[in-house]
């Protein structure tokens, strides 16, 4: 237990690990017949690897890495469309840094930038709006990405642009929502999951009742968790206790940040600006009903799909195959570990990602790669 000492509260961590141990043993979890817990959020995936939590806990606990890394699930066709918009004359295309390296079928945004397109990394959609104010003769487009944690930011930015009557600012909306892919995974007969660690910061926006269906309809426990190692350990223990006691409930380990009903201002802004698409494509998971958002008609002036005639149907019609030999879909759905992909660490590395799971530190492949040294046999340490 050598890494526990670097935790903020080693004594608490040790107590939690002991509790997990006892409960896992009590419910009969073993290496060959593990309790399979999916952490939905890519931030949690990153933290689990960073702290080696998968190795610290009882061997009967298996972490399955969920689809909660927004750049990892972005379809290639949408990256192509982003590049297409960015290469229009007069456009300044802005994006979060995470999306710059995601491969499209021909190139990434980073490659398009190297070829001369005016593509800029920004921290916030507010930076993109400011860029539009300062460059009234240019067309500024923001690549709207992410789950419910970033959706309020683009919704509020569009509302602000509308208040100012801006004419040269649009958002290319690719926002997605957390609950629908969870339902899709639960409906997948190959997917055997015993419980979930729920995303902390998404839940801060949407509240915890968005997950009621997991407990009610599928009989699985879910615990919304914070990002410190002891938060994650405690959440694993809470999931195990539910299993031990035969309960399936939505519990909130992160109540110090996550209000039961979410953030009302954010939810109101999202509802005002966005509506659900009938379906949206997820890389590795396919089309999922009601899982993506689009900009409502009343804000069409701020919708890059409308402004550039992109729409969404085109992306589906051009549904593209993943590069030969890659196993992103199987990794994405937790069916194999990243090391099971023949491209892992050979053709696919963070410098030259073939799949999006290798691009962001929240992607399972990048997390495996980054902390690979720590996962080597103990003797090497």
């Amino acid at each position: 237990m050598r890494f526990v000492e670097e935790f903020r509260d080693p004594a608490l961590a040790k107590a939690l690990i002991a509790g997990i141990d006892a409960t896992a043993t009590a419910i009969g979890a073993t290496k060959d017949n593990p309790v399979r817990i999916m952490e939905i959020c890519g931030g949690h995936t990153h933290a689990i690897f960073r702290y080696g939590l998968d190795r610290l806990v009882h061997e009967g606990i298996e972490f399955i890495h969920g689809p909660g890394c927004p750049v990892c699930v972005l379809p290639m066709a949408r990256v192509d469309e982003a590049v297409q918009i960015a290469e229009q004359p007069g456009v300044i295309f802005t994006s979060f840094g995470d999306a710059m390296r995601v491969p499209g079928t021909k190139k990434s945004l980073l490659q398009a930038k190297a070829e001369g397109a005016d593509i800029r990394t920004v921290y916030s959609p507010l930076d993109a709006l400011e860029l539009a104010r300062r460059n009234p003769e240019r067309e500024v487009v923001f690549f709207g990405l992410g789950f419910e944690t970033t959706t309020p930011s683009t919704a509020l930015t569009i509302q602000q642009a509308a208040r100012e009557g801006m004419k040269n600012f649009t958002i290319f909306c690719n926002h997605i929502t957390v609950p629908p892919p969870i339902r899709a995974l639960l409906d997948d007969p190959d997917m055997l999951l015993d419980g979930f660690i729920g995303p902390g910061h998404v839940s801060m926006v949407i509240g915890i009742h968005a997950y009621d269906f997991i407990a009610r309809d599928y009989g699985k426990p879910i615990v919304v968790a914070g990002f410190e190692p002891t938060d994650l350990l405690q959440s694993v223990l809470m999931v195990l206790r539910q299993i031990e006691e035969g309960r399936a409930e939505v519990e909130n380990q992160y109540a110090r940040v996550v209000p039961e009903l979410g953030n009302p201002v954010s939810l109101a802004a999202i509802a005002d600006v966005y509506e659900e698409r009938p379906s949206f494509a997820w890389r590795g998971l396919g089309e999922i009903d009601l899982s993506g958002l689009r900009i409502r008609e009343k804000y069409a002036l701020y919708d890059a799909e409308a402004r550039f005639g992109i729409g969404y149907g085109a992306a589906r019609a051009r549904e593209v195959a993943e590069p030969e030999g890659t196993e992103c879909a199987a990794v994405m759905t937790g069916k194999i570990k990243p090391t099971g992909c023949p491209m892992f660490g050979t053709q696919c590395t963070p410098e030259t990602p073939l799949g999006a799971l290798m691009v962001s530190s929240e992607g399972a492949c990048a997390a495996y790669w980054q902390y690979g040294g720590r996962r080597a046999p103990e003797a090497a340490e």
């Binding site: 903020r8 990153h46 916030s124 970033t150 930011s153 410190e228 940040v257 802004a269």
Partner: protein, 93 residues
């Protein structure tokens, strides 16, 4: 982009637009208080908030801010977020 970062509100810069300056690990950054300012923005000066891509999304206490920052530093996410803020500044010029 998925994890928020704690910052302390230093001053209100534009009350009508709910904008304030926050101190994020020594870096000053304009953030929107629209999601957290139900009692008016002025009451938030000196308070700690969790900031997501330029928007304060939750008011937190100082101990929670410190613990979150430490976790983010271990993950390398704090450094990455500060680098992204700097890049956002550069993009404007």
């Amino acid at each position: 982009m998925c994890l928020g970062i704690p910052g302390q509100i230093v001053e209100i810069t534009d009350a009508a637009r709910m904008m304030a300056r926050a101190d994020v690990s020594g870096v000053k950054r304009e953030v929107s208080l629209a999601c957290v300012a139900d009692g008016g923005p002025d009451a938030l000066v000196g308070r700690w908030v969790l900031i997501h891509v330029g928007f304060a999304m939750a008011v937190i206490d100082e101990a929670e801010a410190a613990a979150t920052l430490e976790a983010l530093q271990h993950l390398g996410e704090a450094q990455e977020t500060l680098a992204q803020m700097a890049e956002g500044e550069r993009a404007l010029s």
